[in-house]
Symmetry: C2
């Protein structure tokens, strides 16, 4: 395994052909935007390149592949993009893959085994790295490439809100905007809410309760609530961030009832409160500011368990 | 009245002194950020400059004035910033002002009477124009100036989401970020919600009604609702965008009851529907996608007036 420079990564792309680009499970805007932008760019250079996605492409991102068709070739050079750890590589993505030639990522914790690794943790999104590679390879952006890059950087920064944003992020956005329909991309990812989503948010807010002197906010959904509203997983996206954003809240807990008497619990924290340590008490885990666990029981029991633990944890 | 160039506007600033900078009623992040950035910059050039704000500075924007103290002088040069129409100049702001020397604005419909006008409707925010003027005046940004510029462009674009954003907007953001605490500014303006704001949003969603086959969504607040929740103007900010974001909605109308039997109406539109033309029917104006007006009457009357006009307009 060799840590390489951006220039070396660009050379490896220029020297090889027949690329398979691996993205991570539960694919998001950055791994998809980066992966497809890279594939389109390699094709523009006369090479063959496919993107491997685990499961179905989320419907909101179908705009990324409107000009994409799978190419027929035997993969010779395997690249992972935006994949932080081997466990995030789904089985279907790894089908026929015995090693990774090049790992391109922006997660400082990257633990992918690859012949060559370029990890830049100052990049707000993997798409920032892809953009820089395309500059070195002299690939002019087109709508597909620019749309992928814009999608990656905007979704990984909450549209330039999150603290990972840098001046470079903004400069890259400015560079790709003239080539893609960024207005429509923003509409899809940041503006439009379905009526079902609005109903779900209203219901979520109704359930909000505060504990630990306002430092903990708890919300929940039950199967009965979802059935009454006719809402599914699409409406659930982003709900876990709602309680954490309330003024004074250090720990936001979102409980979602699943089939079989289980609650899926998402914990989001501010100000250095360790969400992962909190969830480990219940057999879960995750990142310092975003973690989860599953707890069996009815609403009242599970909620009391979490509130008691939160009050103890935040003392 | 004379339409002038950016260079001429910069020269007028360089040639004069003792500035009074007028902002608009219900001051927002752009008029305040632009106004204070301009005042701090003029002071850096050794001149005297005050900002006139109608009513109380919204508490969320107090960070703009942490190094600002009113200066004692007789105003000699009057500038309006981000003020689209004379009706938006509050009485307290106009105290002692008999004419406006220079109007700087980005509203294409600007109707301010001023000796000199620089209106650039391609600017996403008035702060973009102020930034360009400061470049011409060779003012290096400091935290106060950069914070004002970042506040103006980020709040007027919903943090780079809205369709008025341009590559220039991003380049300016990149230029000022190193000088100001843009992370905290984003926290204040886009991340943290007060509990009062959450309550207000819940109440707003309860009032939501759809017309014109779902193309028009209308929400409102009354004085009684605000009193019941103990909410003020601080909680009102951003509410105007709620109805426009619902899937299928082309025109979102937000009505806010004010003292004296008047409703302040904010109209936000998608897909090229002209909000400004719509509001001009009621003596208001603004941008193509974001405009406003004031209508006298009780809730039922004003709502019916707006709905009838919207159904006609969207036909």
């Amino acid at each position: 395994m060799r840590e390489i420079t951006l220039n070396e990564a660009a050379s490896l792309l220029a020297e090889h052909d027949n690329f398979k680009i691996l993205t991570h499970s539960y694919p998001d805007g950055d791994c998809l935007g980066s992966g497809y932008a890279l594939a389109f760019a390699l094709r523009r250079l006369g090479k063959k390149a496919n993107v491997a996605v685990d499961g179905k492409l989320p419907s909101k991102f179908t705009y990324l592949v409107k000009n994409y068709e799978e190419q027929d070739f035997v993969p010779q050079y395997i690249i992972s993009v935006d994949v932080a750890a081997p466990t995030l590589l789904g089985d279907s993505v790894m089908d026929g893959v015995d090693h990774i030639d090049l790992c391109i990522d922006h997660h400082g914790t990257n633990s992918i085994e690859a012949d060559n690794r370029y990890v830049d943790s100052t990049a707000a999104a993997a798409a920032e790295i892809i953009w820089q590679l395309l500059q070195l390879l002299h690939v002019e952006p087109d709508e597909d490439i620019a749309g992928g890059i814009y999608t990656g950087i905007s979704t990984d920064t909450g549209c330039f809100v999150y603290t990972n944003t840098t001046p470079r992020t903004h400069h890259i956005a400015a560079s790709v905007m003239p080539y893609c329909d960024w207005r429509e991309i923003n509409n899809i990812n940041f503006v439009i809410k379905t009526r079902a989503k609005v109903k779900m948010e209203r219901m979520i807010y109704k359930t909000m309760e505060f504990y630990a002197g306002g430092k903990c906010a708890v919300v929940y959904t039950t199967l009965a609530m979802c059935e009454a509203l006719g809402t599914g997983d699409d409406e659930m996206e982003g709900l876990a961030n709602i309680p954490r954003r309330i003024e004074g809240v250090k720990m936001g807990i979102t409980m979602r009832e699943k089939e079989g008497g289980v609650f899926k619990v998402s914990v989001r924290t501010n100000d250095g409160i360790d969400a992962s340590a909190f969830c480990q008490q219940f057999g879960g885990g995750g990142h310092p500011a975003a973690a989860g666990c599953s707890i069996e029981g009815d609403l009242g029991t599970v909620k009391k368990l979490l509130i008691d633990a939160a009050e103890e944890f935040l003392r």
